[in-house]
Amino acid sequence: MASSNAPSNVLSLLWRNKESRGVIIQIITMVIVFGLLAVIARNVVINLEAVGKEFSFDFLFWPAGYDIGFSPFIEYTNKSTHFMSGVVGLLNTLLIAFWGCILATILGFIIGIMRLSSNWLVSRVSYIFVEFVRNVPVLIHILAIYAIVVTILPSTKQAISLGGDLFFLSNRGFYIPAPIFESGAGWVGIVLLISIGLVIAFKRWAKRIQDNTGTIYPVFWISLAILTVLPSLALVAMGTPISWDIPALKGFNFQGGMAVKPEFIALWLGLSYYTAAFIAEIVRAGILAVSDGQTEAAHALGVRPNRTLQLIIVPQALRIIVPPLCSQYLNLTKNSSLAIAIGYMDITATLGGISLMQTGKEMETMLIVMGIYLIISLLISSFMNWFNSRIKLTER
């Protein structure tokens, strides 16, 4: 009698106990979530089979057959595989994300600080910029810039020539001379690396001296001198082993040199100033969060205004700025998938676009593209977390 009632007694006991009830609820939730995932996965496989499509990633190694107009890093032809076209797209995504984050940060800090300026005009200009930019969708910004670049700039035949026929600006892109490294250029590179090492060592040494004696060296100017003088000397000593490939108009287009394409310019500028509007507000919030008393105390101690900003305000503001800044970097990277609207060949346009179309593998390509964005975002997050923990206020 007692034994037949035992299991239900145990269950009701477990349910009444607060701790074990929590565990039970968690287990049930997990079972439901994974059950749903399993149903979804099963449905995908069954439905793909129903239309006669095999779930397989073999297509990655088939020849892609199409050309990509913008592959600055690796050699790609229409005989390369879909895998390679994905790599080209990934590199283009990373390129735009990298330069976008840098420009957005610079612009965002400038605009954010402008917004706090005591000059009425400067702060109003910044205010209007922020309110205009962040209230219009980013796709519209990108399309607008692209239209401006392509319609306002002249065609290649009437290209604007700058710096005595070295640089050209046209609606096919901005053409600049490309360096050609000859033998001996490697030594210059080595000297450059050595000078960077020297600068780092000098900074450490200067900091130690300052900590011990209070003497302050002009670290910035000395570093700049080291970085410019030593490599220049090496360049002269090796007999300037770098020559320039100068762009010139041949036939339809400019040949030679390096080109920054209008698609890249439009996407880069559009993403950057859009994200900069958000960063500006984050920067403003961060700086405002440092109480005025800090500045007043520093001034009372005789610390100069720029040193106050550098040593007292910024370090405290940064710990507020950095975590939301990370979200903005993630946004910018994911927004770069709008590239396809103007024909910039990012991962969504190559693997998630043309390859998808040519092979009919929508599920597989979309999974890969999703996975890649996920990995890029996680990498950015972990870098920002590392940076955040480095700059966070040391509490004693």
Binding site: L48, V51, D67, N253, M357, Q358
Partner: protein
């Protein structure tokens, strides 16, 4: 981006299990919906484009209307499901449309790899190039180093790559999502050349501010047989789409037009009588009413009428019949007999 959303939605349909439900019985589905959903392009003048009052018009639309006339008895019961080159097959396979009438090239990989059923050719096309006359180019072989605007998600990307590499020429592809955006890029001078099927070039040229300033180069670099497509796995529906196309062609061959279709019901020609459902039971065998082909001709017209009305020499597109003339007149348009 609308296209991306729909691609994701289609993928979601696969995930959530809607796709499998639309496999068989498309005819019943269409008849119970009371409307035929045709996957068409986002807008190509003459082929599929909404007019000023928002009504879809064009060559592909008329074939969609013909299908609706046969299946539902009313050519106006259509719904245009727009799609880009990239999303069209996903939309069809996910069941967002019942049939694809969207100047789509029939190829091996689409038939076998994308799992479509093709039902014959309603337009024989080929890829060409359009340039500004001011460039002074007279042949595609002079295009070495040019910037070329292409619409993504089409066979043209592959043809273009093959043509330039087999002729040892270089080019800069500028790959754009839709026909309209590609045209804007060509107009602004971002590209020297615009390439797509010759019919699409004629359509694009007619929409440019000064069509006379642009020319289509003589080279046709590919075979582009355009035709309707349906999903795998519904043979009855496939038969219907096949014979809708054949009915318009046969009607032209037999001289049955929108104007004379009523008189033709008392014709002496037994094939005309079978086509119009006076004799025999071909309509019932297809699962339709016996006057299905009569409705097509009465409401939409025969192949020649559809062609001339939308893209023929008297339209802004001004396309001659050429390869698309009937086989009896030196073209390739040919229908199996109604027997």
């Amino acid at each position: 981006m609308k296209q991306k959303t729909t691609a994701v939605l289609s993928a979601a349909a696969l995930v959530l299990g809607f796709a499998g439900t639309t496999q068989a019985g498309t005819l019943e589905d269409v008849q119970s919906q009371g409307v035929l959903r045709c996957v068409v392009s986002t807008g190509i003048a003459g082929f599929a484009q909404p007019d000023a009052s928002g009504v879809w018009k064009g060559f592909d639309i008329d074939f969609c209307r013909a299908t609706a006339a046969a299946v539902l008895g009313d050519a106006n019961k259509i719904e245009a499901v727009t799609s880009t080159g990239k999303t069209r097959f996903t939309k069809l396979n996910a069941g967002e449309g019942d049939v694809l009438w969207r100047n789509t090239t029939i190829t091996f990989s689409r038939d076998v790899g994308v799992k479509l059923r093709f039902h014959g050719v309603n337009y024989y096309d080929g890829q060409g190039f359009m340039v500004k006359k001011s460039l002074g180019v007279n042949s595609a072989s002079e295009l070495d180093g040019a910037s070329v605007c292409i619409q993504t998600g089409t066979t043209t990307e592959l043809n273009l790559a093959d043509y330039f590499s087999s002729n040892g020429m270089k080019y800069e592809p500028v790959t754009i999502e839709t026909n309209d955006e590609a045209r804007q890029n060509y107009e602004s001078g971002r590209c020297d050349v615009y390439t797509t099927d010759a019919s699409g070039l004629a359509s694009t040229r007619s929409a440019l501010p000064n069509p006379g300033d642009h020319m289509v180069l003589p080279e046709i670099i590919s075979k582009e047989p355009l035709g309707p497509a349906t999903r795998h796995g519904d043979d009855q529906w496939s038969d219907i789409v096949t014979w809708v196309l054949n009915a318009t062609i046969t009607a032209e061959e037999l001289g049955v037009t929108m104007a004379n279709v009523d008189q033709m019901k008392s014709s002496n020609n037994p094939e005309v009588l079978r086509l119009l459902g006076v004799d025999g039971s071909q309509g019932q065998e297809l699962g339709l009413s016996n006057d299905w082909a009569y409705q097509i001709i009465k409401q939409v017209g025969n192949y020649g009428e559809i062609f001339e009305r939308n893209i023929g020499v008297d339209t802004p597109l001004g396309i001659a019949r050429g390869l698309n003339a009937l086989w009896t007149e030196g073209g390739l348009i040919y229908s199996p007999p109604f027997r």
